[in-house]
């Protein structure tokens, strides 16, 4: 476990020192400030705009970060052959993969914390912190699942293909109910059944869309605990499958 920690720490530090990540952080902050500015333009909807645009900009940043890191991380290690020295040490392929994944997740979590604090401050702590945390944690969960998806695809595909496949899964996960709706309208048993099955196959990202004023103000909406469990299972499974592929991959 200590080797996973050593690898995760190095991955995180390397990423933080990378210019791309700094730029991304800057973009997230800029989007948030922009949403705050847009809020002042509307008379009654200032809070609503700040909540929605804020969460949307975090989603864009965190999920984008997860997509890019997950898709390129392993391939960069192979292309630059940096993984060779690491794996010449008594480090298993599982530990290597877990370390890289955990390092990327740590960076995402760091951004997530900073974004959350900034958002709460801009909102003037007008919503209960617990309620805000529940909504905000769905972002971390979504990013984690997307990271696992991208790592899984990157374990056997080229980075661009891995990025495309993960993005397709991300969209399908958000559009599960829409797919079901259109399948029902088609009146085809095949499409209906296919949509039902796909609703189980794709990660239930749509269920996490609780990031609204409605939820934050503590209405009767409940935290989607079942979907959270579902996504945690998804992440674990994808990481396990990625490990199985990575374990037997030739590093050429």
């Amino acid at each position: 476990m200590s080797r996973v920690w050593v690898l995760a720490r190095l991955t995180c530090v390397e990423l933080i020192r990378n210019r791309f990540v700094v730029v991304l952080g800057f973009v997230a902050a800029l989007l948030l400030i922009l949403s705050s500015f847009l809020g002042t333009l509307s008379l009654d909807e200032q809070t609503r705009l700040l909540v929605h645009l804020g969460f949307a900009s975090f989603q864009l940043t965190l999920v984008g970060l997860a997509l890019f890191l997950g898709s390129w991380m392993l391939q960069t290690e192979i292309e630059r052959q940096t993984c060779l020295l690491v794996l010449s040490r008594p480090v298993s392929r599982w530990e290597f993969l877990l370390g890289k994944w955990a390092g990327a997740l740590a960076l995402i979590a760091f951004f997530w914390v900073v974004c959350g604090l900034l958002h709460l401050t801009l909102l003037g702590f007008q919503f209960p912190v617990g309620r805000y945390l529940q909504a905000h944690i769905t972002l971390l969960l979504e990013s984690m699942t997307v990271l696992s998806l991208a790592v899984f695809f990157a374990s056997f595909l080229r980075p661009l293909l891995a990025l495309a496949a993960s993005f397709a899964f991300l969209l399908a996960g958000h559009w599960r109910e829409d797919l079901r709706f259109f399948a029902k309208r088609s009146r085809s048993v095949f499409f209906e059944q296919a949509a039902d099955v796909s609703a189980w196959i794709f990660p239930p990202f749509d269920r996490l869309e609780i990031r609204s004023v409605h939820y934050l103000s503590g209405s009767e909406a409940v935290f989607p605990a079942w979907s959270v469990t579902h996504l945690l299972f998804w992440s674990t499974l994808l990481l396990f499958l990625a490990g199985l592929v990575w374990r037997k991959r030739d590093l050429v």
């Binding site: 200590s2 190095l10 060779l84 794996l87 010449s88 040490r89 008594p90």
Partner: protein, 250 residues
Amino acid sequence: MLLRVHGLEKSFKPDLFKPAKKVLKGVGFELPRGSTTGFIGVNGSGKTTSLKCLLGFIFPDAGRFEFDEGRKSFDQFRQSLGYLPERPYFYDFLTAEEFLKFHWDLSGGGAGFQERKKQVLEKVDLATTGDKKLRAFSKGMLQRVGLAQALLRSPELLILDEPMSGLDPDGRWLVKDILREEKSRGTTLFFSSHLLADMEELCDRLLVIEEGQILFEGPQAQFRPEADQSLEKVFSQVRAAHRRGQGSAP
């Protein structure tokens, strides 16, 4: 015997529609404890692939390894191993000290890092690099910091892929000096190089590979019975003989 390799075979498929190309065709060799073995072959002969199979970076289609007469597992073998790849790329944003600490921790950590770090950095003449990041290092400096990493845990076996490539004469002299010192310490050395003059000077055993097959394995004196013959000349003769299909070792 520190290491025995039996019948390594490996094929690569350039792409989905092309037939697989056999890169290793039953490579087998031994590394006696305390020996210095030079791995000779032209580009594409299978040197790096053999080393990568040995280190577990590539999975051979056939063949097996025996570490320390079967007394050690692959993981135990890696505990006592130092490795330097052909083109050493490292994590750019680290300093030499951070890089060495990272490898120290990966190999189990423990006390004594500061002292050992000082020793190996002095050995490779990089003791004064301070906070300079690896991305600002020259090719020669990277090669030397890579060597420092390989020496960090006082390995029993040192595997070096082209350790002298890209080094200036001073750098080459330094690396050769380190290898001589390791040899006198009893470390088993196994390295590939195109610089046969260095092989001639350092190695007591040679391993010659051509098109994925071992053409010769044994003491240098046996490969080059006449001392006035250069290693380069004998190597060319052996290759030519192999191409004509007239046998292998002289």
